[in-house]
């Protein structure tokens, strides 16, 4: 067991965070625990507002001023980033962990040339002159498949796909160990999406960085990530090897996400989960999914389930559900939209 355990790069431990909105705390992350190994690709899925972005910003150290981390640690190579000085953090950003941002148009500064924005990233961390930094930027553009002479273009002169490639080039500028990809292709059309993912896939294999792919698209994770983390309302509800989790979800929410995707190989119609995520400005003692869950009992409403191993044979599979043990019998029923309607708030 111990000898096939790879080196752990990043470890998030017991992370709690909230936003202060009009003087009231609104929970954003609750008890988040996970780790990333060297070269690993992990998919992080959940609806918008589930805390994905907050988690990424917490890792990058760019949380909004009204956000506050109240508990936990973000360990990179055993050192806690939350304990580091602002200057140490600044140096670590992009150098160790870089990010491919969601909307490449808004993320690039409209008044600076794209090449200069990449050079800026390099020069903020490496003591190199402009020419050397530019050489690196040229290399990077070739790497992502954009003609290097376009380094001198402004963002508005690029197409959406090219902008996204430029953002990927920027993320790889300092050969980081970890790349966070936040919905990297949402704004693009399907063909360009595929091209970008192929390129990213290739680069990840070549350069062997670890990657957290954040998306609401479960299919994308199935295609590209070995491990999956499912988040709901600021908490991790299920995690494990992607194919295992998708084939045999132990959390009703994961089942819901899974069966929402049309699958031609089965006779089932896709379902949609009724209801909406809970209001996190309220204190919730029980399971946060309970109001939308057909399996919920009074225990679920009163007591928060812990994230525990859900399968004795595989310690990597963990679920946060009081009724995980019932899932093997009732899983098929989650294909049925009418079963979902029996949940408390939707019936």
């Amino acid at each position: 067991m111990a000898n096939n355990q790879k080196e752990i790069l990043l470890e998030i431990k017991n992370l709690d965070a909230h936003y202060n909105v009009d003087g009231q705390p609104v929970s954003a992350l609750q008890d988040v625990n996970f780790s990333i190994q060297k070269g690993e690709r992990v998919g992080l899925v959940g609806e918008s507002g589930c805390g994905k972005s907050t988690l990424l910003k917490a890792i990058m150290g760019v949380l909004a001023p009204n956000a506050q981390i109240t508990r936990g640690a973000i360990k990179l190579h055993e050192g806690d980033l939350l304990q580091a000085s602002p200057e140490q953090r600044r140096q670590s950003r992009w150098n160790d962990i870089a990010m491919i941002t969601q909307s490449a148009l808004n993320a690039l500064n409209p008044v600076h040339k794209i090449g200069d924005q990449i050079i800026e990233a390099i020069q903020s961390h490496r003591d190199v002159d402009r020419q050397q930094a530019r050489t690196r930027a040229t290399e990077l553009f070739e790497l992502v498949g954009v003609p290097p002479q376009r380094l001198d273009d402004f963002p508005h002169q690029f197409s959406g796909g090219m902008r996204q490639r430029a953002v990927i080039a920027m993320a790889l500028a300092l050969s980081p160990e970890i790349v966070l990809a936040d919905e990297p292709t949402t704004a693009l059309d399907v063909i360009v999406q595929d091209q970008i993912f192929e390129r990213l896939d290739l680069l990840q294999k070549e350069q062997a960085f670890s990657m957290i792919l954040v998306t609401h698209d479960l299919a994308l994770v199935v295609e590209s990530c070995s491990r999956i983390i499912v988040m709901y309302a600021g908490m991790i509800v299920e995690t494990g090897p992607t194919h295992e989790v998708v084939r045999r979800p132990f959390h009703p929410y994961t089942a819901g996400l899974r069966y929402a995707i049309p699958d031609p190989s089965t006779k089932y119609e896709p379902i949609s989960i009724p209801g909406a995520p809970p209001d996190l400005s309220q204190q919730i003692n029980g399971c946060r999914f309970a109001p939308r869950c057909p399996l919920a009992t009074s225990k679920c409403e009163l007591e928060m389930p812990p994230l525990v191993s859900s399968l004795a044979s595989d310690a990597a599979r963990q679920t946060r559900c009081h009724h995980a043990d019932q899932m093997d019998q009732s899983r098929d029923r989650f294909h049925d939209q009418s079963f979902w309607q029996t949940a408390k708030t939707t019936s």
Partner: protein, 323 residues
């Protein structure tokens, strides 16, 4: 770029032309005979007619207008009713005097306002920010001539640090005009009106920069710059400030126009012999060739400022292609 330039120049020229024409006919068509001061109705009709002929007032109105336009092209602004000397002779110096007071103080105030505004947006929510916003708004709400009077009251009369007004001390006027601008005496006279104008002109760029910065700071590219590990001070000036300059540039013509137009007031308080004071004095004496000329030059400065700022806007924002 070229077409844009031509179009802008054409607009500026049209604006000036309409103003010149409007001014000319306003003087001649509105009630009241502005020539009455120089041609006394008490004179014999023959003498009146001779004088009218001398000033070209015996011609029909449209002829006068064309003669006026023709003369303008060679910078002939006519003859002052008051001094009976060509207006062009005096007005050049007056314009330089206005420019040396208004332009440096404007530019200084604009830079200061932009810098402080940006910095205060960076420190949003702090006590210093709230206080400065209140102070700037109050200053903006203060008549600038009153500010000037308080400055004279305090700095000149009470502390005796600066002269009460004028551009040089009496009797110290140097032989060549240009020498004046390099004399310490001149700088001594410039100091107080300069400071008052800076204090007043500071407010607008300060408030505008601050509010623009506050919205820029929320942009994704600021967050990305931070994620890239770009040092904070570089994010402030290279990203946030750089991107907040556009509204400042677009309002620059307006501000420049206000400042030049506002020179009327500040020059009056400080008896500064610029175009504004000349105009006020000339209006008081019904010396309308001088009024027209000084108004025209003030308008040229205003319109020229607009043109300049338009061009600058294009340089600042690469997304604007000159169309």
């Amino acid at each position: 770029m070229r077409r844009f330039l031509v179009k802008r120049l054409w607009h500026a020229a049209l604006t000036l032309f309409v103003m010149i024409t409007g001014m000319f006919f306003m003087f001649r068509l509105l009630p009241g005979d502005p020539t009455a001061t120089v041609i006394s109705p008490a004179l014999y009709p023959k003498a009146q007619a001779a004088l009218k002929a001398q000033f070209g007032l015996d011609q029909p109105l449209w002829m006068q207008y064309f003669i006026y336009l023709k003369n303008l092209t060679v910078f002939d602004f006519g003859v002052s009713f008051h001094t009976l000397r060509p207006v062009a002779g005096e007005i050049g110096n007056r314009m330089v005097n206005t420019l040396v007071l208004i332009l440096p103080s404007m530019i200084f105030a604009y830079f200061l306002g932009a810098l402080v505004g940006a910095y205060m947006a960076w420190r949003r929510g702090s006590k210093a920010e709230g206080l400065l916003v209140l102070l700037a708004t109050a200053l903006q709400s203060t008549p600038v001539f009153w500010l000037g009077m308080l400055a004279i009251l305090f700095f000149s009369l009470k502390l005796d640090l600066f002269p009460v007004g004028h551009i040089v001390s009496p009797g110290k006027f140097p032989q060549a005009t240009w020498q004046m601008y390099f004399s310490l005496d001149f700088l001594h006279h410039l100091a107080l009106p300069f400071m008052v104008n800076v204090a007043y002109q500071f407010c607008f760029p300060f408030l505008l920069m601050r509010s623009t910065m506050l919205s820029t700071i929320g942009e994704d590219y600021i967050e990305l710059a931070r994620m890239k590990g770009v040092p904070e001070n570089k994010i402030l000036y290279h990203h946030a400030m750089r991107n907040s300059l556009l509204p400042l540039a677009t309002t620059l013509p307006m501000i420049l126009g206000w400042a030049v137009a506002g020179s009327v007031v500040i020059e009056t308080v400080f008896s500064w012999p610029g175009l504004g004071l000349l105009m006020v004095e000339a209006v008081g004496r019904s010396d309308y060739p001088v009024v027209q000329a000084s108004f025209l030059l003030i308008a040229v400065l205003t319109v020229g400022g607009t043109l300049l700022a338009d061009l600058m806007y294009g340089l600042l924002d690469p997304r604007i292609s000159y169309k």
